[in-house]
Symmetry: C2
Subunit: 358 residues, 2 copies
């Protein structure tokens, strides 16, 4: 794909790069920026075509393919940011865990952490060695994206979500093993979380050095915790990840799901932007985190599967709740669902820009 | 089982009946009352013994067996309330849906709602005809419980959670079909929710007439909704269920999971008690719903799988957050997990009574 050759520098595209990064810093924008978690994914026919030939880890680990997938939604839609096509779990592989993607099951760790000795055996690897493929994909994507004036987001899993995969080994409804370690073995838990938070932070810094212009930390599981457990057993470690990542000098987004009861805690981790899911009114969320932090969100991904009038009404309600207050990045509350019609994504992106024009 | 013959009228047991019902009305109590969702369940060897011989629906539909299961935790622990052993889904059967419990999969509806015509074909049945087995189990259980001075809770599924099962037919991660109906077909959605809320309300009234001394409405799925969708598309129907149930003159508990972002809405449904899960600090939750409503919760069920010192610390933290304020019923944030040690339940029940003694 030669995306550079297809560049058309419309006024809106020239505005794009500034719009997302300015919103991260809560500076005034010409219109509300929008990008979507999993904007490159199974709902796009171009993506499915590649997936027929390659496994997910093949796409992630082949820089040219990861770059091509990253560009698919940029070519298709007027989104205000790209996010590198990668996965949160390869850093665990670099630490000695065996990762596989099983069709229909998702990611599986073949040798999950079961003992304190397993924790002490984990080797935090230098990011360049273990995750060079994503760093190279970032370098490739930046060349194509710069021509389009679209900024690139790098990302990592938050230490708690990484711990969930490392310990449970696969999907887990109640996170019993994770919480048992957290509750019963606080010293071992702290050692594990220190390793994971450091690896995540260093990987984020490496991504920024390779060209990522913003960094998102994904904590998809933190909402399973009681707020007090989050605060005492998890927050110090997320804060470490943010502190390390901050040395790269680019905006940091901290995203979690199910966080309506712990947003004030998330906010103290020091990120520039808090990403929220749809289970909280965005105005309530912003009141909780205060006006010194930007906010990202928060349309229910299922709203993209409704009739357009209903989708639009829900997107409008979010824009209305925010008003013209600077520092809002429109996004879904979680990833685009595979059954989402492509046209709905296009309409949403265009609607958010039009309806929020200052 | 002749539970009546085993009664020992210790002072604490004499206090019990008043304690739970008084807390529902926010009246002063001698100690904080406690009962546990799924306190009769797979973690108890007595229950597993019965389950080796009978399916779940056999237990639910045979009044003598349902009564025996209801009494198991009352005999084993000093809990302050019993809850009738029943299920939220049999009312759907009475309306024409085919319910099965598949081992390892949970409940499955063989002919889920797929069209507006399916909704209009649902026949709300008179509770005595369709759910006589639970009403008879309540009558039987009351005889045994009265001798022990333990009050009995009846329950029903909230209309949204019933709609989830009726439409999805089984477990569903994103509730896509439910939300699509809710978003795209508001008139049909209202007709469905009106039927379900009326059936739930009438079933609750029938349970109170049969002897239930309090009524809990379970909305296990409502936390999957955006707060605005809950408020506009669900709340009017839960409110109808509460209004119908209220004619029975007993306290009403409205329980939902993942509700940290919508507690003020839940509270307007008019229940006497709001049940919260562990994903919100109980003091925050109570601040949101205000002091005119009692609160039930909210220990993480996984905390019962921790070492006792940790379990106790977490239970103590909840009691400390509440203080001596009347109107707190101690419970887990969701059901007891099957792998919970029986001794941990006993210790928790006794600890809550001792630590909260006025």
């Amino acid at each position: 794909m030669d995306a550079v050759g297809a560049v058309s520098e419309s006024p809106s595209q020239l505005a794009v790069q500034g719009r997302f990064l300015r919103a991260c810093r809560r500076e005034p924008v010409d219109a509300t920026p929008i990008w979507l978690m999993r904007q490159a994914g199974r709902y796009m026919p171009e993506y499915r075509t590649l997936r027929e030939k390659y496994g997910i880890l093949d796409l992630v680990k082949t820089p040219e393919l990861a770059c091509a997938v990253t560009m698919q939604p940029i070519v298709a839609f007027d989104v205000d940011a790209a996010i590198i096509f990668a996965d949160i779990l390869p850093p665990l592989e670099g630490m000695g865990l065996q990762l596989e993607f099983v069709r229909g099951e998702g990611p599986v760790i073949r040798n999950p952490i079961r003992t304190v000795a397993d924790i002490d055996a984990l080797r935090p690897p230098p990011p360049e060695a273990a995750l060079g493929f994503t760093l190279e994909a970032i370098r490739l994507a930046r060349r194509e994206l710069d021509a389009r004036r679209v900024p690139l987001i790098g990302f990592a899993g938050a230490p708690f979500t990484l711990a969930c995969y490392a310990i449970e080994g696969g999907p887990s409804r109640h996170l019993v093993r994770v919480k048992q370690l957290m509750m019963n073995e606080p010293a071992a838990w702290d050692r594990l979380m220190t390793k994971l938070s450091t690896v995540a932070g260093e990987f984020l810094v490496a991504q920024a050095r390779a060209g990522a212009q913003a960094l998102q930390i994904f904590d998809s599981w933190c909402g399973e915790l009681a707020p007090r457990d989050y605060r005492h057993r998890v927050l110090p470690h997320v804060t470490r990840t943010v502190e390390i990542a901050r040395t790269a000098g680019v905006p940091i987004i901290l995203f979690g799901t199910g966080t309506a009861g712990m947003l004030t805690h998330l906010n103290t981790a020091g990120a520039d932007v808090i990403g929220v899911d749809w289970r909280v009114d965005i105005s309530d969320a912003w009141r909780q985190i205060g006006s010194d932090t930007a906010i990202q969100g928060n349309l229910d991904p299922v709203a993209l599967l409704a009739d357009w009038d209903e989708t639009r009404a829900r997107a409008k309600a979010i824009l209305d709740q925010v008003g013209n207050r600077p520092g809002h990045i429109f996004n879904l509350g979680h990833g685009v669902l595979p059954e989402t019609p492509v046209d709905q994504v296009r309409r949403l992106v265009d609607f958010v820009h039009e309806a929020s024009k200052r």
